[in-house]
């Protein structure tokens, strides 16, 4: 991010919050993850990291549902 700290609020206001922009963020992020961890010889670690995050998310889900254990 080539923005100075004091100019950060101004630059945040200039971001485009249109759906295409939001999906662009997720797409670029997922491409970076894919190319770094999955698109090589050891693709099993990349996939298993995704599955581990999925398991953890499902574990903490009841705690996010408003104090319901």
């Amino acid at each position: 991010m080539n923005v100075k700290i004091e100019e950060l609020p101004r630059s945040i206001l200039m971001w485009d919050f249109i759906p295409k922009g939001i999906t662009g963020v997720f797409q670029r992020g997922s491409y970076r993850y894919y190319n770094k961890y999955v698109n090589k010889k050891g693709s099993l670690t990349g996939v298993s990291m995704v599955l581990a995050v999925y398991v953890l998310f499902n574990y903490i889900l009841p705690f996010l549902q408003g104090t319901q254990t």
Partner: protein
């Protein structure tokens, strides 16, 4: 711990938002699209499996039936991956919900039936009466064949729901029994744990077999009607 055995089958919401939609879309992340002629290992393995399955499953169809290849292949991939992901701890399996399985079974079955009635009307109507029935049995047999036709989508949906739900319930029960037995008698807990391991292996097989059976039956209904 859960209040009762069935809380793990409740549709997950997070602060009122139905994230079950995200969970249904999650398996698609695990099937990346192929960009190159020779891909990485993950995509190559998936491509090889899809080609193997599609050749074996679509070989019995004629040209008209083989237009359904994309539909049936995505169906078996979706049901197989969803069932296998449901075996991870604490995860939610969408195919345990009867509503979703009915939503998959009824349109596919109806599609095959309407195709049959539109293109080969006489042959489709002739399915209601098997060959060589005695004349006085004809009315009853037509009624029975009609009922068996309309029960096909229900059977498809309920079969998938019941198999996956029963498997998950058994794993919950035997896992709970193992935990409860550990304080009382560790040797019995060991036996129960071995049963749990065998059951998990069975569940892996059931997950994939159920996907296969669902798709195979849809393709059979298609074969009858093209």
């Amino acid at each position: 711990m859960n209040e009762n055995l069935f809380t793990s089958f409740a549709t997950p919401t997070m602060m009122g938002l139905p994230i079950v939609i995200l969970i249904i879309m999650f398996p698609s992340i695990l099937f990346p699209s192929s960009n190159r002629l020779i891909n990485n290992r993950l995509i190559s393995i998936q491509q090889w499996l899809v080609q193997l399955t599609s050749k074996q499953m679509m070989a019995i169809h004629n040209n008209k039936g083989q237009t359904w290849t994309l539909m049936l292949m995505s169906l078996i991939l979706f049901i197989g991956s969803t069932n296998l992901l449901g075996l991870l701890p604490h995860s939610f399996t969408p195919t345990t919900q009867l509503s979703m399985n009915l939503g998959m079974a009824i349109p596919l079955w109806a599609g095959t039936v309407f195709m049959g009635f539109r293109h080969k009307t006489k042959a489709a109507l002739a399915h209601f009466l098997p060959q060589g029935t005695p004349i006085f049995l004809i009315p009853m047999l037509v009624i029975i064949e009609t009922i068996s036709l309309f029960i096909q989508p229900m059977a498809l949906a309920v079969r998938l729901t019941a198999n996956i739900t029963a498997g998950h319930l058994l794993i919950h029960l035997i896992g709970g029994a193992t935990l409860a037995l550990m304080d009382i008698s560790p040797s019995t807990a060991l036996i129960t744990f071995i049963i749990l391991i065998l059951l998990t292996i069975l569940e892996f097989a059931v997950a994939m077999i159920q996907a296969y059976v669902f798709t195979l039956l849809v393709s059979l209904y298609l074969h009858d009607n093209t």
